[in-house]
Amino acid sequence: MKSQDKRDYLKRYKEQKKNGIPFWPNALFKDAIVALIVLIALIVLSYFVGAELDERANPSDDGFSPKPEWYFLFLFQLLKYFPGSLEFVGVLVLPSLAIAALFLLPWLDRSEKRHITKRPYVLVFSVFMIVGVVWLSLQSVLEEPAPTQLATGDPVASLYVENCAGCHSEMISVPEGTDLIAIISQGGHAGMPAWNADLSADEIDALAGFVLSPRGNQVFGSSCADCHDASGLAASDPFTLRDALDDGGDFEAHADLELELPSGQEATALVNFLIAPDGHRLFALNCSSCHGSAVPFDGTAEELREVIRTGGGHQDMPAMGGILDETQVSALASYSVDPATAPSEAAGLFGQYCSICHGDLVPQAADLAAATEVIVTGGAHEDMPVWGEILTEEQLDALAAYAFESIEGSPAEEGRSLYAANCSFCHGDFGEGGVNPANPAITLSPISTAGYLGTRDDTTLRAIINQGQPDFGMSPFGLTYGGPLGEDEVGSIVAFLRSWQADPPVELPPEVEQAPRLGDADEVFTEFCSQCHGVEGEGGIGPSFQANEFHDSRTDEELFTSIDLGHAATAMIAWGQVLTNDQIVDLVAFIRDLRGEPDETPPVVGEVSFSGDVAPVLEALCLACHNDGGAIGGWSASSYESVIGSGDSGPAIDMADLAGSTLIDRLLGTSGALMPPQGMPQSDVDKLIAWIEAGALDN
């Protein structure tokens, strides 16, 4: 705007003010009328509509379909149009541009014209924005009632309606090559929760099939749904499915029916719907019975796909007769008949010679003679089916991609061995937990339940592994925290833990749905606490309330807080949602009463010996982490020599300055981390220190 225009404007405005009205009372009167109307509107709305209040927030019920305030609906809707990697455009770029345009409006429109007809760009753009925002908001409101007509009588569609339609409306378009099952079960993108805690593996598979092949769902509805329940078929095997489709009326189970079965593209769509093209699941259904968890293959991905498609003599087994001697052959043969009764060296032989092809799956032989025959002669002892005839193209793609990746050893496979080496000692082979071998007073709760894994995201699991849980006796495992594992390794373990989630090896008793009106603390204890802590408080999944150590290490306030808020790291839920504060106070008193007789530990008298006094303590409390296999911090508690002499920060016991030994520092927490992280009874600490100060003799 030129300065002459500015001058003109100011002059004109002065004129307009002169011919105008005084603010008081004229303009203010109009303002007052509008304010009154607004006030009345607010009161009327409060009286007749009121302010909505839903159920109390429940973090474990993620089936709730989130709905933002009306003025954010357009943004919420916009998000749906930017899937996957484009998401940040819809979420970040567009809103930022809009806000920047608003701020800069006076400089974007620099003409001296003010009447709306003289500013066509501003007019068009504003109308466009208004129409856009209103349209998006309306869209969001209209889509919200899920497509109920889909749901009637169609179990898979109702799964979709209940769980997905709230955000995704009628249908999702998925880019090719998307691992849909992984996204559904673990939650793929902003705002999408992991569903694996709420849905079974079959349900997730059914949903993936529904999304990937909506046509298949329609075919199923018209051709199969009268007799079959979709999820039942989905779990069955692809061979029978293919037979049924190919044989038509000749298929045994269909013989008495006059059926018109789908063919061609319809049949393909149907198979894709029933068994979603998901590599992992297809491998489990079709391949793992012969190949275990992975197949060895040294060609390209395309070659592998071809091998799978054509099937047949894909890779002959070498004749082992020339490589192994007779005892080895017979050991292996008996191993494949019954691993339990086979000679002890058989497992090693299998690992050395067979597992490269057979994975960790031992082929089952009917009798010794047949097994010996196959091992000695080798050859194509069992043909691979021609998968090209059984699977659809989409399924083949997915399967080949998965199998190829698993050759490399997927993170989960790597995680399995890392877990076995680092975690299973305390957490059990299946994450079932149990008594902490390093401290019998602590009982580790299962970490492989759907509940545990479903309520912790990857960041949390990584943090737990990296930093440990000093309060529960878990030392840090991340390199940055002084542990043995790098970031990638921790990630692999998390991936392995996640593999439990779809099919948890451990199930907890179902949680209490609603709080009955319970009175006394003993009733509450019997009803809730005893499930995990034992009827007499003797412990189980949760720690024992009879142990003195439990009571000595906690104040009443800490007990109250634990009950009220639960423990993030264990199966202990926040009972504050269920119990009143008074009930918890009574419960704390009740738990205190469960305590057994106080310890009468005799004070340390006389000479403390290494073999008699020190070694048993070290073995019970230190050896789990500080052993010759994986000496964390470079210190091993396995022998007198290593106790005295090992340690990354110099020998644990300084013979020249016994009282200044690193071991004492760690036991007392005076320098470095307090050890052991799970705590050590004071009498044992006294014992160890007395032994060191007496010269740390090997007596």
Partner: protein, 230 residues
Amino acid sequence: MSIDDRTDEVLDETLDAEWMDQRTGWRGVWNGIFLRMIPKVNWSFTLGSATLFVVVNQFITGILLTIYYVPSPQDAYDTVLYITNELPAGWLIRGMHHWGATAMVALAILHMLRVIYYGAYKFPREVTWISGVMLLLITFGFGFTGYLLPWDQKAYWATTVGTKILEVTPVVGESLLRIARGGDQLSAVTLSRFFGIHVWVLPAVLLSILGIHLYLVIRIGISAPAKREE
């Protein structure tokens, strides 16, 4: 102009004024704000003052709500229930705060559209416009933080999704998410920081910028509807 610099006439004038005006100079302020002349305008020019009225409503009802509301996951829902069902006129206070929020957003947007329509963001009102856009963003901030406070299902999950959106920001997304939530998941920390932002931070920012906005409106004068040839 300090008192010492005044000319004798001005000093006489001051001494002629009534007791209170001598000491506060309120009449000058009153004249400047209420007796100023403004151009002839239509009803759409009441939208700004209507928004201001709702802001006052939000402050009054909001302060009353904080007397009973407790921002912790255990108590939030119960205190909101108590306010709604048991506190005398509690339903009215909460209802007016709830609907006031909607009205504030709606009126602020309409007010902005009016300003766009009449080209009122142009010289000499550019700074007024910028402060106005800031006020609109603050209003959205109020809406987002206030939505969580009742700690009911829709509040919890809408905020879960709303904060999760931050995660898509390249590079710093994860940190932003953790800052917004005060951890990996929504927790007592999230609730207390949303509460703090809603009742302390945003009102303070709102008042400062609103002060600038109103000062500029009074100083420059409200725009007049543009004529066809302008």
